[in-house]
């Protein structure tokens, strides 16, 4: 028995020493991180305010992430909407599950917003990659409470390990400001090649149209909507414009959202075809800076102003 206790104590001591060393390194590194602006980093936690009241907060995938990840886009967005905005949308196909997680973190930090605009892409309901396997953990700082919430929420173990492990990787330890100013390049009508559109759709729907997956991630959206209702936040759902046409999962999503609106209150606008001109896009489903101006002025601002 004594030997067993001795072994257990030594194993715990070994783990404890290494955990303390790792923690020390993380803390030391954290002090060296600069104060980032939204257009200088992919991390949302590093720029997330505390105890702030904002006019609007955004959720979404990369199609909405670019509204703030480019300095000019963010300025245009706030100017066109006439509101202060905190954008929590994620690159790389940010799904509903991480979006819900960011939103909860936003509220847990004592923040408030009058309106939450969720730029909702149909494809994020039909794949696990943008949800359970999303790489947001790679560009967020390690926060024990965030980690524990992820664990309690049942995030896949691989994601939790990746979250912790990525903080000791080269990309994190040697990160620098990554300033993105604006996106001026534009498509031409010649770029609307049906084959490219088909390939892009296939890429987004790499797991097909599984009803089980759809049902699973619908629940995440419902949790966001219900939380908004409880917090008195006005939720507005907008399907952002693309040049892909109606996505394979769009009809199912729109039908379901319309049905869901009978139960939970939120505004809904389908703007997928609202900006059909290729010159407003830098690729098939991402607006360039002029496209952001066009979309904000012509569609988002009226939607938020109830026009």
């Amino acid at each position: 028995m004594r030997d067993m206790i001795r072994l257990a104590v030594r194993l715990l001591a070994l783990l404890g020493i290494n955990a303390a060393a790792g923690w020390g390194l993380l803390c030391l590194h954290e002090t060296s991180l600069p104060d980032y602006a939204p257009w200088e980093t992919d991390s949302r936690l590093l720029i997330m305010p505390e105890d702030k009241h904002l006019d609007a907060a955004f959720l979404g995938s990369s199609r909405a992430y670019l509204f703030s990840r480019f300095q000019a886009n963010h300025a245009i967005t706030e100017a066109e909407l006439g509101r202060t905005v905190f954008n929590m949308a994620m690159p790389s196909g940010g799904g509903v599950r991480p979006a819900r997680f960011y939103f909860e973190e936003f509220l847990a930090r004592g923040n408030r917003c009058d309106v939450l605009v969720y730029f909702l892409d149909p494809f994020v309901f039909f794949a696990t990659g943008p949800n359970d396997g999303h790489k947001f953990v790679w560009f967020e700082p390690f926060r024990l409470d965030f980690f524990l919430r992820m664990a309690r929420d049942g995030y896949p173990r691989a994601q939790l390990v990746d979250y912790l492990r990525s903080k000791f990787g080269r990309d994190w330890l040697f990160q620098r400001r990554e300033l993105l100013v604006e996106h001026r390049s534009a498509l031409t009508p010649n770029d609307l090649d049906p084959e490219r559109i088909r390939m892009r759709r296939d890429h987004l729907y790499y797991q097909g149209l599984s009803d089980a997956t759809f049902r699973r991630y619908r629940r995440e959206f419902v949790r966001i909507a219900e939380r908004c209702e409880r917090e008195g936040i006005c939720l507005v759902v907008i399907i952002p414009p693309t040049l892909l046409g109606a996505e394979p999962g769009a009809k199912a999503l729109v039908d379901w959202l319309q049905e869901e609106r009978k139960r939970v209150t939120f505004g809904f606008h389908d703007y997928v075809d609202a900006v059909p001109e290729p010159r407003y896009f830098y690729n098939l489903d991402h607006l360039n800076t002029e496209g952001v101006r066009r979309f904000m002025r012509g569609f988002v601002a009226p939607a938020l102003n109830g026009e």
């Binding site: 030997d3 067993m4 001795r6 072994l7 070994l14 290494n18 691989a158």
Partner: protein, 471 residues
């Protein structure tokens, strides 16, 4: 359950605690359900096959102990062999035979088609079948007393550390240990834990990392170039070694923590200086199984030269087939048989060259090259793919290989292989483990910490299955 899974991290300490908490005579009561639970974590229903195999060989063993008449004993032996090999055939080889026989049936005038196999291969079936067969044959021969305790015999068949990927234990080594007293010996337990840690390092840091390159090249043979095939094949040699020997190390280490000693399964095989030497070092528990229960009964080397050649070919073809129901494994086995026969024919030549260091080095490099060449067949999806890769060896030498990893990752992978070789080289003249345990605490803890960080930062922690699970 995988050794490299989170579940095992909870399972193993719990079993260890329970195991040492109960008196020795009842420990099988802890280990047997734990072993079945370990197996059932994969596909619960297939545990029935283990039970069937266990019961057949248990009663066969008892029968051998009671029956004197040779004919009846032989009949009993045939019954056990037919049951075990029948299960193996149905679940492992039926699909292969059906797929290859079906196109031939019309030539025989048969109009029906053989149905597809609707089942998946039960994990570890080749291992536990061979283990129970070894017991039955030994009892039949009279070199092993039949085990009368069903619980302990069932544990011998299903002992979780070595159930799904060996080592294929012999009854004379493992069975008596289930009746011996094993206290919690600090030195033995830490030795076992160290071995488990080393095995895990080999699996998740070296093998699973090397797999990134191997999978890229072998997954697209048409696009492979000569340098890519060479690099991927050398990496595969170390991947499969680290994967399988890593599993064996974890199995042996886990058993040692519990107080049981399993047989050695690998002895630095890539330091072999002949193919025969390689087979004395690679998957020792299987090669000795084939030696004891097939090669020697066939006459071994005490037969005429042509008969001996035939014996070697039979043993290696069956060894290839044991690994999987695919022509690639048969080709791999046939190649090794050819290597061995040619190696034996060249023995006088090697003898004239002597045993100098340079000669040993050159022979070692040559053997490694031959083994790698055979691995091409072992790893390729089909014999056609293997020949595509072999043809690719001659081209593309003017451009850098496409390996699917960055230059930094490639250097890291090469460094890991170099590290493994350095560790094994250091073991050629002294036991690294003994030297390590003599070091001061701060050195040992430094190494433990480095290993922990190595697994954490470099390991592919996606819980990939061990390669030998499917054999």
């Amino acid at each position: 359950m995988l050794f490299n899974s989170f579940e095992f991290m909870l399972f193993f300490p719990s079993v260890v605690l329970l195991h040492f908490a109960v008196p020795q005579r009842y420990r099988w009561v802890v280990l047997l359900p734990a072993s079945y639970g370990f197996y059932m974590a994969w596909k619960p229903g297939y545990v029935v096959l283990i039970w069937l195999s266990t019961l057949v060989d248990y009663f066969a063993g008892l029968g051998f102990g009671r029956l004197d008449r040779k004919g009846l004993r032989r009949l009993l032996l045939m019954g056990s062999l037919l049951t075990n090999l029948g299960l193996l055939f149905v679940f492992k080889y039926y699909g292969f035979f059906a797929a290859n026989l079906d196109p031939l049936l019309p030539y025989l005038g048969w109009t029906f088609h053989l149905p597809d196999a609707p089942w998946v291969l039960p994990v570890g079936i080749s291992f536990y079948t061979f283990q129970t067969l070894a017991y039955t044959i030994e009892v039949y021969r009279g070199t092993q007393a039949p085990e009368r305790h069903l619980g302990r015999f069932a544990l011998y068949v299903a002992f979780f550390p070595q159930l799904v990927a060996g080592p294929i234990e012999r009854a004379r080594n493992l069975l008596p240990q289930f009746s011996e007293h094993h206290g919690f010996d600090y030195a033995r337990v830490t030795e076992g834990l160290r071995l488990m840690a080393w095995g895990l390092f080999k699996k998740v840091v070296i093998a699973d990392r090397l797999a990134e390159v191997v999978d890229t090249v072998y997954g697209n043979p048409e696009a492979a170039t000569g340098p890519a095939v060479v690099v991927a094949t050398v990496f595969y040699a170390f991947q499969i070694y680290c994967d399988f020997s890593g599993y064996s190390d974890i199995a042996i280490g886990a058993a040692r923590v519990l107080g049981y000693r399993l047989m050695e399964n690998f002895r630095r095989p890539y330091f072999a200086i002949s193919i025969a030497d390689f087979w004395r070092r690679w998957h020792i528990s299987l090669s000795t199984w084939f030696r004891d229960y097939l090669y020697i009964p066939l006459g071994g080397s005490r037969v005429t030269a042509p008969r001996w050649c035939t014996n070697i070919v039979i043993v290696f073809l069956l060894s290839g087939l044991w690994h999987g129901a695919n022509w690639t494994f048969l080709a791999w086995g046939a190649l090794h048989a050819v290597y061995l026969l040619v190696g034996r024919a060249m023995a006088p030549f090697w003898a004239r060259l002597g045993e100098g260091e340079l000669v040993r080095l050159l022979r070692g490099v040559g053997v490694f090259g031959l083994v790698c060449f055979a691995w091409i067949f072992f790893r390729a999806q089909s014999v056609g793919d293997a020949f595509t890769l072999i043809r690719a060896l001659s081209g593309g030498w003017s451009s850098p290989p496409v390996l699917g990893v960055s230059a930094v990752t490639f250097v890291l992978l090469a460094g890991l292989v170099g590290f493994l070789l350095a560790v094994q080289w250091a073991q050629t003249w002294d036991s690294l483990h003994e030297r390590f345990t003599r070091q001061p605490t701060w050195v040992r803890w430094g190494v433990y910490s480095a290993a922990l960080w190595g697994v954490f930062l470099l390991g592919a922690l996606k819980q990939t299955q061990f390669i030998y699970f499917v054999f």
